[in-house]
């Protein structure tokens, strides 16, 4: 009802009822009623803990949610989820260019994932960071040589200016053919 949160999630469904359910979910996850979600709260979710990127998503291994998006209080929680809203067709045409880009735009979705890789938030994914994130994803199942080989190939493919790191621009370019909007969308049930 005019709160900034409901505009984040507006669409053809009832935003206030969705917000209410998300709020109940937030409360259920916030174990000691702190008012924000800590790393431990998120790691308690079984299905997240077994996700290869689960640790990064819970804010571990480098810059976490708290640094990326501010304290993960309820508005922060909603902001993260807003990245995953499907892109509506009517969004793209009529947007006022002076308004900030909606969180679920292609650019912002790409930025969200870029930040999962860019551990120190310096705007570049260095070879070392890529190695670390890959190690998080595969655990002990892959040898160091294999991992280095994968890292080298990936960085070389995306790195255009030869600085040995992948900048955000290079990242977006290497993925320009990918249907990000479809891969990174979560549909809300009405």
């Amino acid at each position: 009802h005019g709160s900034p949160h409901s505009t984040l999630l507006e669409g053809s469904f009832d935003a206030s009822s969705l917000l209410l359910r998300l709020y109940h979910r937030f409360r259920a996850l916030d174990r000691n009623k702190k008012g924000y979600l800590s790393r431990v709260d998120l790691q308690q979710i079984g299905a997240l803990a077994v996700n290869p990127l689960g640790e990064r998503l819970a804010g571990g291994g480098g810059a976490g949610w708290e640094e990326l998006l501010g304290e993960v209080d309820f508005p922060g929680f909603v902001r993260v989820l807003a990245h995953f809203r499907p892109v509506d067709d009517d969004d793209s045409g009529m947007r006022d260019p002076k308004q900030p880009e909606p969180l679920n735009s292609r650019m912002n979705k790409l930025r969200f994932v870029f930040q999962l890789y860019d551990l120190d938030r310096d705007g570049k994914i260095s070879r070392h960071e890529m190695l670390q994130v890959l190690r998080l994803m595969v655990g002990v199942q892959v040898t160091e040589e294999q991992l280095e080989s994968i890292t080298d190939r990936t960085v070389q493919e995306a790195d255009e200016d030869g600085d040995g790191a992948v900048s955000f621009l290079e990242f977006t370019k290497s993925l320009e053919k990918m249907d990000i909007e479809q891969k990174m969308s979560i549909r809300i049930l009405k």
Binding site: A28, Q44, L57, V138, G139, M184, K190
Partner: protein
């Protein structure tokens, strides 16, 4: 003086009524039908309330119950499809999109965390505590609700507390007295009588209505009874219809007194906290117990913790390694009349019992199931899963492979390694890079 006399008279009539209408019939296992009448009135009232609520809420506002409907649409496609992968494909930067989507889906909604909070109701049952999204509808409904509060707190609660008090005292006194007798069939018969009477009284203390199905499969002596766990009340529900030997830790305080008294009358298996850690000792003592065919069946809850009665979680294999015949029992509560789930992180025992005693009633179904034994070539874990499935099907509950221990602890590393293995196989599987 007059005031004291009056109070004395009221108290004595009250106690006589309680004695005559509740205690004596409990001792003989007979029902006078008062609870049935109460339940009928209750059901009618709740139906009326539901109709009024449905009429009152406009159709467009769409505040639908989220009882069984999720928040988001889950994409259950396996990892290979989601990563647009063929086996032995290379790592792509875009893999992160699939995993972050799956991760966010889990953050918004996961199968396990929701099982540790009470089930949401489809329609309000006139208790404040279940009033999640329901708005003000009409004066009449609010009036009925106020009446409900008065009835529950001023009439039912004192009655129930009295009964609980009497029930527990009788149990302690009765079992201690019976314990003085030498071992004989008379002692066993008396001990059963005391246990059953006191349990029936305690069930009345909660206005419990229990339907037992398939009584022919009731657990026999020398067997192990296994059931899904929702609350400490489960024990009460089962012991009202038969006597069991209970297994558990020795507690202090009131529980400890009850435990010590009970074990005098018939052999329960209580462990000291230190003994519980020694798995072999526990298994040994339980094996000895069931080897003696004259001893009562053991009652075990293999989930290890209270779940909210919408699903059955992993059964710990310890109970299934003892051997012997397993008698599965499924317990399903009807949440419309009162929420039996004990959320131990939210409520301690006393506030939980108070909540129980101020609900409308506890209504549940108990299904006894045919006995099962471990088959050739089946290990304890597979057997445990087989029993778990059977109980889930019978009770109409969902089956989850997750461990109830997730309520308090993190997921085991072995689960995470499984997923990492799957992903790694895709990256480097065929030995090609």
């Amino acid at each position: 003086m007059e005031g004291a006399e009056l109070a004395g008279k009221i108290l004595s009539t009250w106690l006589t009524l309680v004695l005559g209408l509740i205690l004596l019939p409990s001792a003989f296992g007979v029902s006078l039908g008062i609870s049935e009448i109460y339940m009928k009135i209750l059901v009618k009232t709740l139906e009326w309330a539901t109709i009024r609520i449905e009429k009152g809420v406009p159709k467009e506002s769409g505040l639908k119950s989220s009882a069984s409907v999720g928040i988001i649409q889950r994409d259950e496609s396996p990892m290979e499809k989601g990563l647009s992968g063929l086996r032995g494909r290379d790592f792509e930067l875009s893999d992160a999109f699939y995993f972050s989507k799956k991760g966010l889906e889990a953050i918004v909604e996961d199968e396990v965390t929701q099982r540790f909070s009470s089930e949401e109701l489809v329609s309000w049952n006139l208790l404040t505590r279940t009033n999640m999204n329901f708005q003000y509808i009409s004066v009449r409904l609010t009036a009925v609700w106020v009446l409900g509060v008065l009835v529950r707190y001023c009439v039912l609660l004192p009655l129930r507390v009295t009964l609980a008090f009497i029930g527990i005292s009788l149990l302690v006194i009765g079992t201690t007295l019976v314990g003085q007798l030498p071992d004989s069939s008379l002692k066993n018969w008396l001990s059963e009588l005391v246990h059953l009477t006191c349990c029936r009284i305690c069930v009345r203390a909660l206005s419990g209505t229990i339907h037992y199905h398939n009584k022919q499969y009731r657990p026999q002596k020398g067997g192990i009874c296994v059931a899904n766990h929702t609350s400490p009340i489960d024990v009460l529900i089962l012991t009202t219809d038969g006597c069991y030997a209970m297994v558990g830790q020795v507690h202090g305080g009131l529980m400890g007194i009850i435990q010590r008294a009970m074990v005098k009358a018939c052999p329960h298996v209580w462990f000291e906290r230190s003994e519980m850690k020694d798995r072999h000792l526990v298994t040994k003592r339980l094996k000895e117990h069931i080897a003696d065919k004259k001893k009562l069946p053991i009652l075990i809850f293999p989930e290890g913790t209270c779940i909210n009665n919408t699903s059955v979680m992993m059964f710990k294999k310890g109970s299934f390694e003892i051997g012997g015949t397993i008698h599965p029992v499924a317990i399903k509560y009807n949440p419309q009349f009162g929420d039996a789930f004990w959320n131990s992180s939210k409520y301690n025992m006393v506030s939980y019992l108070l909540r129980m005693m101020t609900s409308w009633a506890i209504v549940c179904d108990v299904w006894y199931m045919p006995p099962m034994t471990r088959e050739e070539g089946e290990d304890a874990v597979q057997f445990a899963n087989r029993v778990k499935s059977a109980i889930a099907v019978q009770g109409g509950l969902t089956e989850l492979p997750w461990d109830g221990g997730l309520k308090r602890a993190k997921v085991k590393d072995t689960f995470k390694e499984e997923q990492q293995k799957n992903y790694s196989k895709m990256l480097v599987g065929n030995g090609s890079l």
